[in-house]
Symmetry: C2
Subunit: 395 residues, 2 copies
């Protein structure tokens, strides 16, 4: 039934399942219910914009996972997952946005109980978007013989070290985001309404690279200018770019749901001292952080190296984290929600881990971003993009 081009070998999916089962054993979890769309995709291959209604993957210690979603999405599962037909299950449409009915009640009674999966320790992603309290209460009410335990980010942590195929997709995403930045730099000028530049960024993002399609990134382009750049997450409207303002572009290329993110700042006119100081500080900070991003070092070492360099240049990010793991993602987040590059995270770096190292500076009435997406290799951090690391100036 698989009409889409499979993204990964069956062997790779089995290796992922083995990793998840090892983590389940460590936490003494017999049944894992996965709501996070990125985790569902990573385990089953499922890909579709259907996560606005409940859908899960169920993993136990043997056999294939189950895919469970809305009736009309079962055909989408048949076309994208590697599972046998017998492991694709759906709930009727009257469970959709029709309180007090809840699809998790159907899951518990129609799927888990008949399989003897309704007791023991059942792991749930208690910290996940797409798992609202109403669904949790429905599971509690309908699984009275189970111990429901928090398995937040259990699968996310299993995704940290990337396979060769995953890295291949991320390198395609890197080529895409390089082209998006080049297009922005070429087109930007004072007076240009911002949404027309966004139109071109999207066109290039979807055009992809070398015949490989561009997929939708998990976040939209963020490109605030002037005082709006004091905030990291503003999007766009029809106001024009202005002379004597900086704009940072936080953009991601995406291929088969795998992301590569890159931020650069463009100043129209002669940069103020603030921007020149920030350029120097960010470049020193990025170099220091990249040098610390060695296997065996900790996430905290990268953050500390960055922060020390920024402090020498008079900048203080007030404890904001400076990066997060990236890879497979669905909206609203292209981060993997496991570790963080911050001074309290002692996770050891391993070859194959991938991060967006992002020391954005968001000050009172201006801001600047220069970032790198990296893969940890035996020999240290390798930036995925090949794009000049500097403040761009257009007169």
């Amino acid at each position: 039934m698989h009409t889409q081009i499979p993204g990964f070998s069956l062997e790779e999916y089995q290796q992922r399942l083995a990793r998840v089962r090892a983590a389940m054993l460590t936490q003494d979890i017999q049944t894992l219910i996965v709501h996070d769309p990125a985790n569902i995709a990573w385990l089953t291959g499922y890909d579709g914009w259907s996560f606005y209604t409940p859908q899960v993957a169920v993993v136990t210690m043997a056999g294939e996972p189950l895919w469970f979603g809305r009736q009309m999405d079962a055909n989408g599962a048949r076309r994208t997952v590697w599972l046998q037909e017998e492991n694709i299950h759906w709930y009727p449409d009257y469970y959709v946005m029709n309180p007090p009915m809840n699809a998790m009640e159907y899951l518990a009674n129609q799927l888990l109980k008949p399989r003897d999966w309704a007791y023991g320790r059942i792991g749930l992603e208690m910290d996940s978007c797409y798992f609202p309290p109403s669904s949790w209460l429905a599971l509690c009410d309908n699984l009275p013989d189970a111990e429901l335990v928090d398995a937040s980010a259990l699968v996310n942590w299993c995704r940290a070290v990337k396979s060769d195929t995953e890295l291949r997709y991320m390198r395609i995403a890197a080529r895409i985001v390089e082209r998006m930045h080049a297009a922005a730099l070429e087109m930007i000028e004072p007076g240009l309404p911002k949404h027309l530049l966004v139109a071109e960024i999207y066109r290039v993002a979807m055009e992809g690279h070398d015949g490989h399609f561009g997929d939708y990134p998990s976040m939209v382009p963020m490109l605030p200018s002037g005082p709006d750049a004091s905030a990291p997450h503003l999007t766009w409207d029809e106001r024009p770019f202005c002379r004597d303002q900086g704009t940072f572009f936080e953009l991601a290329g995406c291929h088969r749901r795998y992301h590569c993110i890159l931020s650069r700042t463009i100043y129209l006119g002669r940069p103020t001292d603030n921007f020149l100081r920030a350029e120097e500080a960010l470049n020193a900070g990025l170099e220091a952080g990249l040098a610390a991003a060695q296997p065996g070092n900790r996430c905290a070492d990268v953050a500390n190296a960055l922060n020390a360099a920024l402090a020498r240049h008079g900048f203080d990010r007030e404890g904001a984290r400076c990066g997060y793991p990236i890879g497979l993602g669905y909206p609203p987040d292209w981060g993997e929600q496991s570790m963080s590059l911050r001074n309290t995270d002692n996770t050891l770096l391993k070859p194959g881990m991938t991060f967006h190292f992002m020391p954005g500076l968001w000050l009172e009435d201006w801001g600047m971003e220069t970032t790198e997406s990296i893969v940890i290799t035996e020999n240290g951090a390798e930036p995925l993009c090949n794009y000049p690391r500097r403040l761009f100036v257009k007169h």
Copy 2:
């Protein structure tokens, strides 16, 4: 501090607040905590892609709402909300993805308790994406003197009848989605890799209409072909369009977060009998449903009129709902998650309500969509788009 162009008058925000307070009174709720990004935006004006970390609006019976989010997003709030600075509050960055810390603990202890808002009945959106069980438990643990009650969709229901300004934005979105469909029809041909058409659809979507910017729709283009069109929510890859296949395009134009959605199907070659039968059935069903979409009729009347017409043509949608309210939205959903066009929903239709009336047909190995976004007027249903309602054929 408002650097963005305000989308609505202060008076309109005050009217919205009054509507929400009336609903709170009915449910005996003293304090309402709002997690849904669309509801936060509707109440406060806040707009940014920051909903991947916790953020809320808090509404009580007097004064302005509070905006509460991540430290780095407070500047984004200052630039988009209508609230006074004293009502913008933030939690430190170490609360972000750093379990067991939870921003809701900070909200309860640092904001609600000092204001005497930590007792009585507190309403929560128990059914909302962006409110995970971990956040609910943090509120339960830290608000021992309050009665936490379900206020799911309380604000969503208040959004149902649109103001003139909201309808103006939706009509701009309608012009945008008409242009997106025209671009798809012009460009599609056998052999064209699908992602190149997506690139053009996005370009047109962002280009907007008549100087009004295109905003990002809450869902991405869905345009499955051939047997993939048996599933409603598949996206795209680099496979080409093929002769003798149908593709449906479910697309939305968006302006200032307000949506207008339209689906049409394009067949490359000579349509099979299935498609011709579906065209006839869907047009009859849409006409019957539109005729029933009168003020004073119920949501169920629209669904029943559609289903009866489809049945006469031999089609059965197996109880799937055939529409939902639309307007302001954030990913993952452009629906408003209050009522549904389905045979069990007895909500009365009122002038100013807006729906995506969407009787998609997803069969075993093919599918077709023809839909309309409508506003209920005193005189019946008015389609927001002016686009031919038929199966398009390209030889």
